[in-house]
């Protein structure tokens, strides 16, 4: 292991789960504290599929990568996957220790996995300091040093070890180097897993999946914690942080979803927001009460779009920021804010009782 941390630093590998934190720094802290490694193969975000793909196609490289990160002769490594999933089955058949995670949106969040790994519930914990140093949960129970890395991150570690930092840096931009898996799905001809890198045009990425269909009107990037763009914006956006930031987004966990044009996009967003509200772990008041209130406000605005209703929704969104143990409310608020902006013409149409989808359900849906 001459110096894997230095190699990763040279390569510029960052976490592929969406947070984009330096893997070298995490690895160093993990080694110094003798932390257990949890490889997160849950594909927790809506539309995510890359972790399953890696386990199905590159399991040996994933195992190599985990050993490189953990180091030592008897490394403590576990693989997190949703209970009963094909991925959990594949990991178990390979004789790997599997942390079986319940099918909830927040259960594969970093601190929720750590809680589950310590015999607690798969619910997020307040992170007073990174758990790689060890710490305590809110009830005061001791949490040993634990580090969570996304499965793609771990896979990339083994690739960098084998092929070198220069190979890695030959992909992407200098600020965001390396190949990245992207799940392209929804209303496209060939949904699936594609290898891309930062700096590609979003339209090129969509072309690999059969192109943006002419009737497509909206493209989601990053799932429920991401943003939604108009088709025109998607055609002119570069998939890298500066390009995505302009729309309030990020590269995230590598998910691009073309929304079904047959459904009213306000309703698509409503469905996602309601799902997000239902997936609150119910621990933190601002999320437990704020998320259902957001879903209700969204529905009200869809039915009766007024400036007052819009302002109320914006206030609601601001009150979800940084007010949970985890970033679930922040993610859904970001998504709702983006959808509110992108779907402004649709809201205007609703105000004139002229939803282009022609459905009359807005008057009734609760």
């Amino acid at each position: 292991m001459t110096n894997i941390a230095e190699l990763l630093e040279t390569a510029g590998l960052t976490g592929r789960g969406g947070a984009a934190f330096s893997t070298a720094i995490k690895l160093k802290a993990a080694r110094e504290n003798g932390a257990e490694l949890i490889v997160n193969a849950c594909d927790g975000e809506l539309g995510a599929a890359k972790d399953a793909w890696i386990v199905a196609h590159h399991l040996h490289e994933l195992i190599d990568g985990a050993a490189l990160v953990a180091g030592g002769r008897r490394p403590h490594i576990r693989y997190a996957a949703h209970r009963g999933s094909r991925t959990a089955g594949l990991l178990a058949s390979a004789g790997l220790p599997v942390l079986e995670v319940p099918h909830r949106y927040v259960s594969s969040e970093e601190t929720a996995l750590i809680s589950l790994a310590q015999g607690g519930l798969a619910k997020p914990m307040t992170k007073r300091a990174p758990f790689v140093f060890g710490g305590r949960d809110s009830q005061g129970r001791k949490v040993p040093p634990t580090v969570v890395l996304n499965a793609e991150t771990v896979w990339r570690v083994s690739q960098i070890h084998r092929l070198g930092a220069e190979w890695f840096r030959s992909f992407g931009t200098s600020a965001e180097p390396g190949p990245r898996l992207v799940a392209v799905g929804g209303h496209v001809a060939r949904p699936g897993m594609y290898e891309a890198s930062a700096g590609v045009a979003l339209s090129d990425l969509l072309d690999s999946a059969g192109g943006l269909p002419p009737d497509a009107r909206h493209v989601g990037v990053g799932g429920l914690g991401g943003v939604v763009l108009t088709a025109a914006e998607a055609r002119s956006t570069i998939w890298e942080t500066p390009g995505m930031k302009r729309h309030g987004g990020a590269l995230g966990p590598g998910i691009v979803t073309v929304w079904n044009p047959a459904e009213c996009p306000i309703e698509t967003a409503a469905r996602m927001i309601s799902y997000g509200a239902g997936e609150s772990a119910g621990q933190c008041g601002p999320c437990m009460f704020g998320m259902p209130a957001l879903a209700a406000d969204w529905t009200d605005l869809a039915r009766n779009p007024t400036g007052k209703g819009r302002d109320h929704l914006l206030l609601r969104l601001s009150q979800l920021e940084r007010r949970g143990a985890c970033a679930h409310p922040d993610g859904v608020a970001r998504f709702a804010q983006s959808a509110l902006r992108t779907l402004a013409p649709e809201f205007a149409a609703h105000a004139n009782h002229a939803c282009q989808k022609g459905h009359k359900r807005h008057a009734q849906f609760v």
Partner: protein
Amino acid sequence: MPSSSEAARIAVDRVLCTGHGVCAQTLPGAIVLDEWGYPVLRHEAVEPEAAALAVKLCPARALYLR
């Protein structure tokens, strides 16, 4: 708001917080309550003495210093 050199930085353990609202009274200005009584941090930096008292008086032991 005190200058950053002498200020304490407060934070809320959102899992522990049950919305008693005492902090909004011990730290008026820095903390207000939302419609359900949960604290909204206007700013994190407060005077150390006031911060220490607010932490001590939080019934849920949710308020802490960073």
